[in-house]
Symmetry: C2
Subunit: 432 residues, 2 copies
């Protein structure tokens, strides 16, 4: 993102409908009267997608929180768009199920917002993305027409697959009102390994081996570099269970037999130790120890704030290049005054690196050394300049770094087709 937060709208009207029909009436009225609407879920987005820019009416889904059904056998959950992710997870627990996605914002984010932003998160490696797990949805178009795509079926090849137009389009094509999602069985066993490594090339080898050896139980595979871990250990005074190493990996397994999973993990660890792919490592299934390790990953954002000002980027790169931006940027910024650290961490298993430059305070000079270079670098490697956070209000002018001109033209045509008056989430997603 790279700018000071400016996520502050001037709306004087927040509407909180309870039903799809109410959403439809609101949108029909706004469309007829050319009133702009900003759909909002839990308002936890990081690119301003759910924040009004000027005086849009805020259409908030917080009252749309009914769970319609949970099917024990098929694992299908059907609910309204305003259900909070964590509440859904809790409701599923009684049925031996869980949500296929998990994010830091789970306590406030709405499932409708998750769909609209194609939220990724920590379990994607194992349970797949929302295009795969969402079975159906209901959405309301800008003109108030209700589009019923609320299938609960895993297979339905009857015509064009329209639901995907509403997944990840950030409320610009319609407002998601109901969701049907495929939920996996809640794992009976969870184990976590925390590893110290010497180099990124070793990380790639360990990733490959983990995919082969742990295959079906591999649930998360994250990496953190030393400089990033420091924001937790130095800034937040968290304790790391390992000594200092250039790189760390967190590998979590989900399975149905603790004994089997531990055996697999231990064999895997013995192998990578013996072949010197890792320098040290621990495995645990104790909840408190697992939490302490996950804190080293999940509290990174909080830790960075203590550095001063942070330029943050959410980038996907082909796996060999996952970490390459960090040394390149370190060299580029060498000698620049005010830099605290240049570092990277993130969802290694998904090729999604969180890259940041922290400095004592915001500086235009540093900004211009980072941007647009960081986007050009990503674009040259055919990476994504927004892996999981979306485009929102922040990034429309950068979208061309990841999307071809022809694609952007199609997106604009789709926008015109679905929302000819442009009332839905204006100034967002697409460049003017």
């Amino acid at each position: 993102c790279g700018f000071e937060p400016i996520f502050l709208g001037y709306s004087r009207c927040v509407l909180k409908p309870k039903t799809t029909e109410e959403v439809a009436k609101i949108l029909a009225f706004c469309n007829n009267n050319r009133i702009a609407v900003c759909p909002q879920g839990g308002n936890t987005g990081l690119v301003g997608g759910s924040v009004p820019v000027f005086d849009e009416i805020v259409l908030c889904t917080s009252q749309m929180n009914t769970i319609y059904s949970i099917n024990d056998t098929s694992g299908v959950l059907v609910c309204q768009a305003g259900c909070i992710l964590e509440n859904l997870d809790k409701a599923l627990e009684e049925h031996g199920l869980m949500m296929p996605l998990d994010l830091g914002a789970k306590g406030s984010c709405h499932i409708g917002g998750n769909l609209s932003t194609n939220a990724g998160g920590l379990r994607l490696l194992r349970y797949g993305n929302l295009h795969g797990t969402v079975l159906g949805l209901e959405a309301v178009k800008a003109d108030g027409e209700i589009i019923d795509l609320l299938s609960t079926l895993k297979k339905d090849n009857t015509g064009f697959h329209l639901k995907h137009l509403f997944i990840g389009s950030e409320g610009a094509l319609g407002v998601v009102t109901k969701v049907a999602i495929q939920c996996p069985a809640k794992p009976k066993a969870t184990n976590l390994a925390f590893l110290g490594l010497e180099s990124f090339s070793h990380i790639l080898k360990v990733l490959k081996k983990a995919k082969g050896d742990l295959g079906e139980i591999l649930a998360s595979c994250e990496m953190i570099d030393q400089s990033t871990l420091d924001v937790c250990t130095c800034n937040l005074k968290l304790k790391s269970p390992l000594a200092e190493f250039p790189f760390y990996m967190l590998i979590e397994t989900h399975g149905s037999s603790d004994a089997h999973d531990q055996e697999k993990l231990n064999l895997f660890l013995e192998d990578v130790m013996l072949s010197k792919l890792i320098l040290d490592g621990i495995v645990t299934n104790e909840p408190s120890k697992m939490k302490n390790i996950w804190d080293l990953r999940e509290r990174i954002t909080e830790g960075f704030v203590r550095d001063g000002y942070v330029f943050k980027y959410d980038i996907s790169l082909p796996i060999e290049h996952f970490y390459s931006l960090v040394p390149v940027m370190r060299e580029r910024l060498a000698g620049t005054e005010g830099i605290v650290r240049v570092s990277g961490y993130g969802h290694l298993g998904d090729g999604n690196v969180h890259f940041q430059v922290s400095c004592k305070q915001f500086s235009n000079e540093i900004l211009h050394q980072i941007e647009p270079f960081v986007y050009e670098y990503t674009s040259k490697l055919r990476g994504s300049i927004s892996a999981e956070h979306g485009i929102g209000f922040r990034k429309p002018k950068y979208i061309h770094y990841s999307k071809s001109p022809e694609s952007i033209v199609i997106m604009k045509e789709l926008k015109k087709m679905f929302d000819p008056n442009g009332i839905l989430n204006p100034y967002k997603v697409l460049p003017m």
Copy 2:
């Protein structure tokens, strides 16, 4: 489908381009001259989607069979659309990987056709559908414009997710020319259980238990009723390893440790035996025995042909109703002359039942007793009248049984936007 095959076009021109640029030139020419085009992959579809209806030019992808890259670490395969599925699987094997989908037609079907029809198949339960596993694609629009969506990234939230428009739209919105797909590790261990059961309600209980107990290793969960098995044992003289039971289940596991997987399967079987959920069952990991059991599933279509004429339906239903059509239809057809059998089998884990009525010969009277009743029944339960086979030429007039009028209007608008002259696969997918 319910009609005599009429899959015979009158094309006098088949073009076999080798490159995307050639596809683009062909389409630009045809679009300018209002010449209809029928995109064709391996021509293995079951609803006539790849067969010209009148004198369309056939645009065949068979010469577009280059594999560009296989990435050992990320598991990403990039190739041209005309690669044969089985060839891709073989190429991946050397890298310890496999394709996330597997179909009976794998020896001839093209990956581009798989995408265009959103092919399902036998591994979907475990590895997910193509909307989840396809990372990127390249397609050519009707006017010859090349749309580069060939991302190899698992996460890319930059704008609307356009690639899904080309997955499952049966070549009506564009011709898929290149594919990037996420491939899982090839399992080190495969085990197969074949179970005999008393009732469908027991099947549902065993399915639920299998999902919980076998969770991460569950790869396929199929069911066959006695009447369907008979077409293999009586018509084809195949041997079943079990005595006769009203229902059968095939449960295949894929895992990274044979010992662990066998232990899980054996524990599961002991439990379902003890609790009398199953009447008998065997487990094997011997390739020849597994093949014999899978033959009982995969040769069903061949076996049915010996009955005479077969009315076949590929239907998705909510899991509780998976089998309900069979007894309802048996009652409806009771006493009708010429009926050989009314039976059901299919991808239980995906809620996709293959339902058929076989008779000595085609009869209009029987047809009208089955249709449109079978579609109305499916529609009432919000099922899909084409779970995995698609709409093609055969079913446009039935699409309204599974899709709302509003959805069909949007589909028609999309068709107009992407192919204003209607040159791509005319008379298919959408109703006139």
